[in-house]
């Protein structure tokens, strides 16, 4: 398919809109989390806590944006990586269940991240079981969706998982080696969660980008 200049301009505008909205939402989300923590006389959060909270906020915001896009297809066509309004309507069920899963996972992760601090909403044990329960539910939802996907989506998921596997292995092995040599601090428990949940998200974007599907024709 040959793009016209106006097609390319429209796609570029849409991509910038998506990127801009994502960046603004992410910054606003993190500011909100930090604002909620302010004034509670808490110790300065360490790097692992900040990164894990950031990943959790991304999941929550992604769930909210995808959910809004699915509920309001005209806006969804502009915000989401879809061809048009009709595609939002066709994929609505799947978009809504993905949105709910992302929002729940992000929220449960936020609760877990702060479970051992003064800002805890739940104690560590309850936060763990909430997180584990949500993870189990989202895994079941993902597996059920995978069975309903057609071959393009399955290929994208398989590519994402492969990319994540390679990437996470390299990071973990190098990090472990560095820690074994006492050159860096060993990964903290929250780092492993951030690497897994953040990594699979990043790998999915890379897989879509590599196929040239970030801007749909």
């Amino acid at each position: 398919m040959i793009d016209t200049t106006s097609d390319r301009t429209a796609k570029r505008r849409k991509l910038w809109l998506q990127a801009g909205l994502g960046a603004i939402s992410g910054a606003a989300g993190m500011t909100l989390v930090l604002w909620l923590l302010e004034g509670r006389d808490l110790p300065e959060p360490d790097g692992s806590t900040i990164v894990a909270a950031g990943v959790a906020v991304i999941y929550v915001l992604m769930g909210v944006l995808v959910g809004l896009g699915a509920l309001f297809p005209a806006a969804g066509a502009k915000l989401l990586n879809v061809q048009d309004r009709d595609e939002v309507l066709e994929q609505r069920g799947m978009l809504i269940s993905s949105a709910v899963a992302c929002a729940l996972l992000g929220t449960a992760m936020l609760v877990l991240v702060f479970a051992t601090t003064e800002a805890a909403l739940l104690g560590p044990r309850a936060a763990f079981w909430l997180f584990a329960g949500v993870l189990a539910v989202t895994t079941v939802v993902s597996l059920r969706q995978f069975a309903r996907h057609d071959e393009l989506m399955r290929a994208l998921i398989q590519e994402s998982v492969a990319l994540f596997g390679y990437g996470a292995s390299v990071v973990l092995v190098l990090w472990g080696a560095g820690a074994a040599a006492a050159l860096v601090t060993a990964p903290q428990p929250l780092d492993l969660i951030s690497l897994s949940l953040g990594g699979i998200l990043a790998a999915t974007f890379v897989a879509i980008w590599r196929r040239g599907m970030m801007q749909l024709d």
């Binding site: 009709d86 071959e151 393009l152 989506m153 196929r211 599907m213 749909l216 024709d217």
Partner: protein, 71 residues
Amino acid sequence: MLSVRNRLKEHRETRGWSQGELARRLGVSRQTINAVETDKYDPSLPLALRMAKLFAVGVPDLFIDDWEPEE
């Protein structure tokens, strides 16, 4: 990555079908049809065979590979 060009859009438009209509007939998503037509995705062999059958053409008439075997 090995990749082939295709004439799916041409055959589809000859029939007067939208991407959605072709997707429905083949049992895949419209996103898949769009990705094949724009050379972003090479379909599996079963889907390529179904496409060829649907348009009553041979697979090499639908998918074009410029590769030539060495002499």
